[in-house]
Symmetry: D2
């Protein structure tokens, strides 16, 4: 039979447990062998359901000879150090977004890869693997929209337990938009402004304006307590037309004077197929020594933009995003 | 039979001729008796198709005893003086937007009404009469959206022969959004910023950010050479949900691997029913000595916002909109 | 000023009163001068709101010199005799559907026109004037669907106070579909079968299968107590594609895990613009001595199909529709 | 590591190769060990891409100790005998639809299972595993539609290389609808009529009418050369509302006066996720000795309905579907 990538998963919370389940039920190229979580009972449950075992610590998991590659789904502040440890152990990594809490920490991951002379890290910007987002990108690439001038992003949660302060909304939620726009446009964000109609307490929603090195302007609304459901949309507008990602569940109900479709509130369910494709692509690439998807560099730049966004939220002004020279490793 | 409002129309261009046709074919309460245009042959043709006659001049039309009320559809720079002349003649006016090119000129119309001690002027912000926009407003009023936080407006033309310079896009096209937002929210715009991804030549599209006295932020994209068609959309987002005006023609064609509906390029055709309802409401009100729809004050404030918008386009900064105290006449 | 058609309206029920209101508020070419209803107080109210007077009887209304043309909106069983009386008086008629309760009665109207040597009657198949249905028809005419093979019709009411028995559903509701299909396809229905999943009590919904002389098959579901709202859809399927009339109200609400739009229950509101265009086209034509829209012949054939449909509902078999030779008058 | 089901695949055509690829890339519980096809080079290619080997014959594959379970994706006429051979070998089967070409052949499979005293066969009615169809079914089960009265099915291919004669359209394409309706309604089809507007040559499209033991009527249009794309829709109409499966790709393009989304022509791509879920559910069940999805009995009844449908296409009449007593084995 074919070789399978033996995967250790650090973090068995909602995202980590979902990844373990997805690997076990939908990614034949991978096999979950170890799971670590501070909640050891939970780690054991999640691991055994997938045919693996709990690890004693994250370090032990990374060092374990039964682990070829690591999925990092632990709290954000642990990401960078875990990724660096994995790099130093010469093991492939799929690190949940964000790569780090600060750009400086993310830079340390980049530097570790540069020092190692090769790449190991894929950052979990899963939208890059979503068929809808890929179709949207193809509308740009195939030229049918002409020259792209403006993008509009919407990112709403019914409610959000993790993005609960002003900066966290930028670094934890809006960071998806930063990577999405860079990837869709194959360009760099050079300026950002973040504002909110809410001036007291938690500033939610936030409205960002972004500028790219390709001459586009972008508006992005992120509203993590929008109440009605999980809703992610992007419209790309060019001189030749517009393409708009507007997913809709396939069943239309007509009842009591209303016709429409369900809007879920669970982002994991919404993007479940993208997670599977992301993990499958990661495992396939790792087995052949390759890295696909968002790189550590992409993760670092997303953190740079987020840092400028947080500064902008404070200054009320447009902040410049200064992206250093890209190391050759990220060609 | 019932009394009919005898209407004189100044300007027989595309908009004026459309209004004459709409009055003749769809507004029984009105009767077009006089039409004036510098192109006298055109004035005669348009008038006679509606059973009326050409007038010798705008002044003569306003003074004509066969004219009870005036529709102003001549070039923008003539609006204010014509409206003032009509007010002084004690005749009702339906003045196409904008009420004036500058806020100062619009203020003169307001002052003329205040001096006259009564209102005569309806400004042609036709969206207020569009069933879709009214339905959108009802979503706000009925409370189902909770507290409104953000609005997003889209206003695209396939191409535009009249909004052809940076300021003109604001004062001629985006001015519709200014009135729409004020009317939807029953509030005042207190700040505006206007930017464009295009930095050389005609800065189209433009992206505006607006702030209201009700604590909302608004993004508005106006793109007058969007190529694909005429497209006007508004989304209103509150703490309880979102309502989005997204008109669609009723026939879905599925041909050659594509399923969808037609998007027209003619704004008059798109909003034709709103024009009829606007003119009908104006004629009904005029017959009973009343004024409905957007007032001269609304027209003036829209000009104030547009003026600040043009300044913002130059300064690159957020400009404050200073709305003076509202005269009692506008209650 | 232009000449106006002086209209007498027989029947001031929901449909009649709506027509009076539409003529008064939206059809400048017409003027309601007389209204008759057995409920004389209602007739007076409806008439005076439009600037007209109540008539003493239907006969008096038809004979009245202040009446140039007649709208028949009285109970169905009165339609044929009233239409014939109007023809004999040489006055134009807009007769609500159906033209008659039976094909024999409808034939008497046709014969009266033939005897008069000219046409006076338009039958109120309003869908022919609906912009959506016209757009659907244009998809057939322009050839983009290739050769049409199949149509599917849906016609649902939330509840229905008038179509309350098996035959009445066919003759009162489904008759709209019969005319729609003939008009869309510019063809003749040659066979019909009507069945229902409900075998006891009121057989609602009913599912009809129809055959045309153009080689098409049609399915039509009519469900007059469908509960959720008023819903009329038609899909036309050809060898080159499909066109589907699927009207949707323009505002999308996203609230509480559902996204969708309102579905009304009032067929008059749903088709209000088609009624106005129908009455306007009728008045314009009458003023120039012409007749447009569905003819008495079309009304008669619709009754023929309905008669075969009622027979089919009883026989359980496909019934042939035998359309006699068309008199020259109907070209 | 977890046990994996070792799968042998008979038939490496489009469907078989797709299943091999899906198993290899998306079903960790299974492992393709053997592939047989008359085209041995193709079998070898398909097998080796998945890490398996070509088998010498279907019999050898079924007998192979490295094969725990069999996927049958060979030509329809081979299905029944292969399924019986697998049953006799005591191995699980996922047999592509139809289970057999005739009901008699399908009955032999049922009889083989009954003789074996246990079930081995899942029939590849993949729609049962499609999230959209499952959502549609939940609308029926949760009672929100009230009592279901009518269903409407649409099944169109751009073009079809396999359903190329009148009977083949029923037994090869429409058979999907038969299973879908039975499964959605948890009921039995008791009558069927199949007609076509096309009377010469290949009778495509066909329009079926079906009756269920739950008192529902169903219309189903199957058009295997519809030109524009692959389109499968079902509407379920009850006394409380309607639920309609209307999948739409998530990106809306607005270009050149048209707004809409892409319609593919590849049924495998359209339903690819349902195939993966079907195969995964099959493998999981087989590993625990269970059978899920459509049973051999369901496959047999679908063939019975198809047989009645073919008879109806010839007779022009409604044909009764006589379903024998269900063996206890099928609960």
């Amino acid at each position: 039979m074919n070789q399978r990538l033996r995967v250790g998963v650090v973090g068995a919370g909602a995202m980590g447990a979902s990844h373990v389940g997805t690997l076990a039920a939908g990614v034949p190229a991978a096999q979950v062998t170890r799971v670590f979580d501070l909640d050891t009972a939970r780690a054991k449950d999640v691991a055994s359901a997938a045919g693996g075992e709990a690890a004693e610590s994250a370090d032990a998991l990374i060092a374990d000879p039964e682990v070829d590659a690591i999925v990092i789904a632990s709290p954000d502040f642990t990401h960078a150090d875990l990724a660096i440890a994995a790099i130093e152990a010469g093991k492939h990594v799929m690190c949940e977004k964000p790569l780090a809490v600060t750009a400086d920490d993310a830079r340390r991951v980049v530097d570790a890869e540069v020092a190692a002379g090769r790449r190991f890290v894929q950052v979990g910007f899963n939208r890059r693997f979503d068929p809808g987002f890929q179709d949207l990108k193809s509308s740009i690439i195939d030229g049918s929209l002409g020259e792209v001038r403006v993008l509009h992003g919407i990112h709403r949660n019914a409610s959000n337990a993790t993005s609960t302060d002003d900066a966290g909304l930028v670094t934890g939620s809006m960071i998806h938009e930063f990577d999405t726009f860079r990837w869709l446009l194959d360009g760099e964000i050079i300026g950002i402004r973040v504002e909110s109609p809410v001036t007291e307490g938690f500033r939610d929603p936030q409205v960002a304006t972004l500028w790219t090195d390709g001459g586009q302007m972008i508006t992005a609304e992120v509203f993590v307590n929008a109440g009605y459901g999980y809703d992610v949309r992007v419209e790309v507008v060019g001189t030749g037309g517009s393409a708009s990602l507007e997913p809709r569940t396939p069943v239309i109900r007509r009842i009591s004077g209303q016709g429409g479709s369900a809007i879920g509130s669970d982002f994991v369910a919404h993007f479940i197929e993208s997670y599977r494709l992301e993990l499958a692509a990661w495992a396939d690439a790792a087995l052949r020594g390759d890295v696909v998807g968002a790189s550590a560099w992409d993760g670092y730049v997303a953190n740079l933009v987020a840092g400028a966004g947080v500064a902008a939220l404070g200054s009320g002004a447009r902040e410049t995003v200064d992206v250093p020279e890209r190391p050759e490793l990220y060609g």
